[in-house]
Symmetry: C2
Subunit: 173 residues, 2 copies
């Protein structure tokens, strides 16, 4: 199973993503077009302490909704995922992780996007300083594990990386 690239066309080069159109030849002999969003990748951090998970509430323009998500952020050019996770956690929540473990590397939408999310678990944290990006506006919140599982099962938590983070943590650790 493979798809050979026949032609590639860059449609758009942007701030957080690029878009390209790729003409491909399948092993079956069929030709098709793949629209591929190029994304630098992101990190997300599961923080669990005293039976509570740490979340941020953030407005998301794509849905015109305020979503409950685990702390997360995009990789900067050349940035190491671990350093990015440390930075984003402190920027968004004011906590500094003293140690983090890579739980999983997730492909959230492999059908059309190259984004990988590096999912970390920060087991030991201490107080630092909240410093949002200039175009971020969010609040952080601790929620009891039992309530989090209820929010996942009834659909109050909709964000993919957040569901994966809390459910994997609950199931595997």
């Amino acid at each position: 199973m493979n798809e050979k690239t026949l032609k590639e066309e860059i449609i758009y080069k942007g701030k957080i993503l690029n878009l390209k159109k790729v003409d491909v030849l399948l092993d079956t002999g069929v030709e098709s077009v793949r629209e591929i969003v190029e994304h630098k990748g992101a990190v997300a951090i599961v923080v669990f302490k005293e039976n509570k998970f740490l979340f941020v509430k953030q407005y998301r323009k794509a849905f015109d909704e305020i979503l409950t998500e685990i702390p997360a952020g995009k990789l900067e050019e050349g940035e190491n995922p671990y350093d990015c996770a440390l930075r984003e956690l402190e920027e968004e929540t004011g906590y500094i992780a003293e140690d983090m473990e890579l739980m999983q590397i997730i492909y959230p939408t492999p059908g059309f996007c190259t984004e990988k999310i590096y999912l970390y678990n920060a087991s030991k944290i201490k107080k630092g300083n909240v410093r949002f990006d200039v175009d971020e506006d969010l609040t952080s919140e601790w929620i009891e594990k039992k309530e989090v599982i209820r929010m996942v099962s009834n659909g109050d938590i909709k964000d993919g990386k957040t569901i994966i983070g809390v459910v994997l943590y609950t199931l595997l650790l």
Copy 2:
């Protein structure tokens, strides 16, 4: 928390997605740009029978990798998610669901994309006919639950909707 639209520009209208650039004004007074991928949405189906989950193996151009995923597919214009799930399950695996339950509606990448994934659980299935889309090339496979949990925890299963489907099924049902 809100972001007012100041200007919207359509960059690209495509086969499976559109791209737009939106100038926004945050409640904090800051102006920013959001790059938003518009996507019609998708379905994914968890099938569990005799202690095994049903998967498809499919080449994904975005990663140049063959991924293990639960059966899934994109909504056609105006299509009901339930009908889409029925259709995609039979097309990709040859099984007809006699009943399906909506487990969850997931936002896989709310930071930049409008895609919603309707996640179903098909509890009763019977044999139908495999009929791939002309530009699809995939194989289906049953895998034991214990092996699936191992594949999720060691990173052999990377696809977001697949991790959510099998882990939520295992944790909640």
